[in-house]
Amino acid sequence: MTLWKEYLHPQSVQQAVEALAFSPAPAIPIAGGTDLMLDLQQGHHPPVHTLVDLTGIPELQALEIRNERLFIGAGVPHHRIVESSLVRQHAASLVESCGLIGGPQVRNAATLGGNVAHALPAADGTIGLLALNAEAEIASLAGRRLLPLHELFAGPGKSTLAHDEIIVGFYIPLRKPGQGSAFCRVMRAQGIALPILNLAVWLERQDEIIRAARIAVGPAGPTPFRALQTSAYLTGKPFCEETILGAQQALLAEAQFRTSPARATAEYRRKLVVVLLKTALLSAWHRASEQ
């Protein structure tokens, strides 16, 4: 019983979605394979008939400015994201989050598309991306569509993608003067390499006022969580201790934390989220101040 029977190497997005639609089922995409191979090897995913390798598709490897937005192909591995001066310039939270995934071997293979498509509520790359108001470009036999990132998530480990759809890449607004983002997380010393809690902040400042903010937290619910009320709270407030305190309260009020056995209790996560929010706010504010 092998883990897969056929391995396909599409050279274009069109070929990939055709392969997914028409090959003997089950047919699923593979990018870096750092999640999928393990799931197959350990029986968390039943053996499949067809693996459709997305890494040979040039479009998924693109990392460039397109139409006033930063485009990161879904097949771009984390190490390229971390080293890209474009991403550094426009998406600091993504650099920080992708830079913490695995070791260099994993980052050389693992992709941002895979991190997002795996749909874990606390995937680092996903949280880093979510605060940036990213959109995902989805391809299927029917063509292309753009989707706000958060609409990609259906539940823990479940995306809203149909079986013959793939993510082509992500669009991120370019950073304007006065904007900055940051990511941080807390790990547990024991057990699996997923954060106990991670958090990303994007904000825009005008003088000493926060003009706009976006906050993403994981795990705080079945899908990667956008803290909309906290973001709204921050909007228009002066950047000071009192605002941070208020934001911490707002975040505690809206985020739903769970206890995961042998990892962290909900109460611990509530403690940490306060610390992480402040750290990330300070760092993002600082970045928003530099030019």
């Binding site: 593979i30 394979g33 390798d53 890494t55 071997q105 994993v106 699996i192």
Partner: protein, 929 residues
């Protein structure tokens, strides 16, 4: 889109191969190209051992589909050396002693190669970032870092790789005590070193084991008929088909080879049936066709529960494996004299050895005999255990020991040796049985979980008046070495202190958890955590300095241990304490009285630092009345080279270097002239088990005395032949000087032959007799001592803990092999950090939760503190050149040093390992409120 063939270039050679479904790059390299230098440690993207370079970047070949390599260029460890010249990284790893068991080394070197190909001037921080997920369980991380820095410099400057800065033994020696590289170092850095799974035999079958998967049950029914009919399956065996005795065990025969119908399953890893098939996949698939019905029984999951009334009894003798007692004086008297009496209970969890090389055995039928290829810590025991199950004479079984990718005590018990032999016997074909990481975690014996209560009485000035301890040890489903391990835990439970009244009681209990057996530290790790925590608590209660309290009560020459042994010599504890204290002040630039105060980090006040201190001791050798013996044979060959042989095991710790240096020393030979052969029951004399930090002492002594006897035989022959007084004959530099003649060793060989003498000596060394626990006399031939200080940093906002520095002083008698000693110290400290902060083997109602490497985290280079080693050499007269054991003492004080430091930083006492960051945060919060 679909490819029938893939073309890839590996180490400069291009291959075109048919594609295979489900194949990983690691399988392609190892199985199809037989490039076995690339290792599989976990097959779950956690260990980094399988790292290769693809298109210039390091990737994990175990989780890379082979087809992804189509059109790509790959470099493996075999491709680094150019025209026989080692790559500077390879050279540096050997020179600096970064190679221990060697199993992780290809991955380390390839990851480092990836780093250096982008950055030839890496900082330590960059090295740590790059090696973050490439695990070395021998854990010479600081040395690995140094080796990479040295290699980078050599590449930058074009100069040879610099020598490491490691001091020689202060006790001198021509070869011993000097820096010498391992005899197997070069093989291990070039990927040529062969471990069991790297072997391939024609016509070989692959085995798999049907595990019970339930912790406690009776087997009602087994049906293997469907599995037998599966195409490609060569044999399926159950308990009913074991030709000899269906039982094994190291001390107690209580572990069934397979559990048969009507018999009791005692843990999830019990074997029910075994399969041999043409491929690994078929063998695994056949397991699913085996039908087993169980009659589940209530599960016993702790040692405490096992001793309660009315619980099921797991073995005919009951649940109590042994009640172990230490009796010295009368603690009631001592507590009566005390000004302060303190009592506290501590807990330690099971730990997994997590050697990076999972267990592998290959059985090969050869005529009337069975050859077993295996990396085993006790080859002669494997031989008798396999023979017993086959129902054969022992001499029909030959164990051919292979290099071991780490052992740490976890390769003393039978893993797959017997199962492979049974299947090879049934099919007449070679059979390989390789555990994957999951199976390894489920099956092999762990470190004993303990509950230890310590009660200490002391006078106001700190003088200890009495110690009473009660220990519960969970030996799991089978005894393994449980009795021995827990005896050590008990006899060491009052610490390395002079205490007039000591009582210790230990209950070694069977449960339905995975068995517990030998693991580096051998019970003493657990009891040291308890007593050294309690000593710090006592110091605080008395208002004394924790170092002073220990120093005051420390064992010294002519003091008596808890078991009534008077130590006559080689008690370097006070020197260890003093030197660590001095170093602590020096490196931290703090006055002595400020060492244990909490120090917030300037500018980041939520980070608080402090030092912690602990000491330890550990017996060398089996002791307790066992005949602790080892044989070694030294032979001079016609070409003038020597060989030293013993079945003792090399698991990475460096015994082979010790044997080589000892023989070189005795015969005044360049060490390179001495070959070392170990671990073959046909070719090497019995060296006994590689356990109890005994091999430098016993096999070191055996090798030394064999060499010395051979030297005397040579002298006698030459004295006669040249008619010279024996005293005038000198060995020098690989030659012998006789009355103005200089003889090469080839000539010496000829002279010996001409005189009708065999240039070969077998020496059976027996350590001085010891007495069993409770009998008068010395229980052990020697003890090693240690003191350690750990500096931690606690994040008071998150509860996270980092260990910044560890100062480790170890009294090893004589540092025969300083390079190997450095590796042992680093590895021990890092393992101690792991036990304090990371490692926790979790079971729930007998089921293993930490059943993957991803769930059982061990320290990586990022957890590694700065390690400041101090070598204390207080010799023991019976040891070779004064040496005693080092393998275990190195990690014993680390966990309590760390938890004591946490206490000093934030006032939170951990009486349970590992430190839980969440709990720490709650305790800090409580104290702030």
């Amino acid at each position: 889109m679909k490819k029938t063939h893939l073309t890839l270039t590996v180490n400069g050679q291009t291959y075109t191969l048919p594609t295979l479904p489900g194949e990983t790059l690691a399988d392609l390299l190892r199985k199809r190209l037989r490039l076995t230098g690339t290792k599989i440690g976990c097959n779950e993207a956690e260990c980094g051992a399988c790292t290769v370079i693809m298109e210039g970047e390091p990737v994990l070949s175990c989780s890379t589909p082979a087809e992804r390599a189509d059109g790509k260029t790959i470099v493996t460890i075999e491709g680094l050396a150019q025209q026989g010249a080692l790559h500077p990284l390879q050279e540096a790893f050997v020179k600096h002693g970064a190679v221990q068991c060697g199993f992780c080394i290809p991955g380390q070197i390839m990851t480092a190669y990836g780093l250096l190909s982008r950055n030839l001037n890496p900082t330590s921080a960059e090295i740590r970032h790059a090696l973050k997920d490439t695990i070395c369980r021998c854990a010479g991380y600081p040395t690995i870092e140094q080796a990479i820095l040295a290699a980078a410099k050599a590449i930058r400057t074009g100069q040879p790789v610099e020598e490491p800065e490691i001091p020689a033994s202060v006790r001198g020696g021509r070869f011993i005590g000097q820096i010498h590289v391992r005899p197997d170092g070069i093989e291990k850095v070039t990927g040529k070193a062969i471990y069991t799974d790297d072997l391939y035999f024609e016509n070989m079958l692959y085995a798999a084991v049907k595990r019970a998967g339930v912790p406690h049950a009776f087997v009602r029914h087994i049906d293997v008929s469907k599995a037998r009919q599966m195409p490609g399956v060569a044999a399926v065996l159950t308990a009913a088909e074991v030709p000899g005795q269906n039982i094994h065990g190291l001390v107690t025969l209580d572990w069934p080879v397979m559990v048969g119908v009507g018999e009791r399953v005692r843990y999830v890893g019990d074997a029910i049936a075994i399969v041999a098939a043409e491929t690994q996949e078929i063998a695994k698939a056949a397991l699913d066709l085996i039908e087993v019905e169980f009659d589940p029984q209530p599960v016993i999951c702790t040692a405490i529960q096992a001793r309660q009334e009315g619980v099921p009894q797991l073995h005919p003798k009951g649940n109590l494996l042994k009640h172990i007692k230490v009796r010295k004086g009368d603690p009631q008297i001592g507590f009566g004299e005390a000004d302060v009496v303190l009592e506290h209970t501590f807990h330690t969890p099971p730990h997994d050895h997590l050697f990076i090389e999972p267990e592998c055995s290959i059985a090969v039928p050869e005529g009337e005999r069975m050859l077993i290829y295996v990396g085993s810590q006790i080859p002669y025991q494997d031989r008798s255990q396999v023979a017993r199950a086959l129902g054969w004479e022992e001499s029909r079984v030959r164990v051919i020991g292979q290099l071991m990718g780490g052992g740490f005590g976890g390769k003393e018990d039978i893993a797959g040796q017997i199962h492979a032999a049974l299947l090879a016997n049934a099919t007449g074909r070679p059979v390989k049985l390789l555990f994957d990481r999951h199976e390894s975690l489920l099956v092999h014996p762990k470190r004993h979980a303990t509950q230890i209560t310590v009660k200490i009485g002391a006078k106001q000035d700190g003088t200890l008046t009495a110690i009473q301890t009660e220990l519960y040890g969970d030996t799991g489903a089978y005894a393994s070495l449980g009795e021995k391990v827990l005896t050590r835990a008990t006899t060491h439970s009052a610490g390395p202190y002079l205490v007039p009244h000591v009582h210790a009681d230990c209950y070694a209990m069977y449960t339905n958890n995975p068995p517990a057996g030998a693991f580096r530290g051998f019970g003493v790790l657990q009891s040291a955590f308890a007593i050294e925590s309690a000593m710090d608590m006592l110091a605080e209660r008395l208002g004394l300095d924790p170092i002073e309290l220990r120093r005051k009560n420390a064992l010294r020459p002519n003091t008596e241990t808890s078991t009534g042994q008077v130590l006559r010599e080689s008690v370097g504890l006070v020197e260890c304490i003093d030197r660590v204290t001095e170093a602590m002040c020096q490196v931290s630039r703090l006055p002595r009285q400020a060492l244990f105060q909490a120090r917030p980090v300037a500018g980041a006040e939520h980070l608080v630092r402090a030092w912690g201190f602990a000491v330890g001791f550990k017996n060398t050798g089996l002791g307790g009345g066992a005949d602790d013996c080892a044989g070694a044979e030294v032979e001079l060959y016609e070409n003038g080279s020597f060989e030293v042989r013993s079945s003792s095991a090399e698991l990475g710790q460096g015994l082979v270097t010790v044997m080589r240096l000892v023989v070189a020393e005795e015969l005044c030979l360049p060490p390179e002239q001495v070959k070392v052969l170990v671990m073959d029951t046909d070719l090497t004399p019995n060296g006994g088990p590689t356990t109890a930090s005994r091999q430098t002492y016993v096999t070191g002594n055996a090798s030394r005395l064999a060499a010395r006897t051979l030297r005397e035989a040579i002298i006698a022959t030459l004295a006669e032949r040249y008619d010279q007084a024996p005293e005038t004959i000198r060995f020098e530099n690989g030659q012998v000087h006789v009355n103005g003649h200089v003889l090469t060793m080839q000539q010496v060989y000829q002279e010996m032959k001409a005189a009708g003498k065999e240039p070969r000596v077998l020496y059976d060394y027996h350590a001085p007799a010891t007495a069993p626990l409770g009998m008068p006399g010395d229980m052990h031939v020697a003890f090693s001592f240690a003191a350690q200080a750990a500096e931690v940093e606690v994040n008071t906002l998150t509860g996270e803990v980092r260990v910044l520095r560890v100062i480790a002083a170890n009294d090893v008698g004589h540092a025969i092999n300083p390079l190997g000693l450095r590796g042992q110290i680093e590895g021990g400290v890092v393992m101690g950090v792991g036990h304090a902060l990371l490692e926790n083997f979790i079971t729930e109602n007998g089921y293993v939760v930490t059943d993957r490497m991803a769930r059982y985290r061990v320290p990586s280079i990022v957890h590694t503190p700065e390690i400041i080693p101090i070598v204390v050499e207080d010799p023991v007269s019976t040891g070779p050149y004064g040496a005693k054991g080092v393998g275990e003492i190195v990690l014993i004080p680390t966990p309590p040093a760390i938890t004591n430091a946490i206490y000093h930083a934030v006032g939170v006492r951990f009486d349970r390992l590992p430190v839980d960051q969440e709990q720490l945060l709650w305790e800090i919060t409580k104290r702030q409120a």
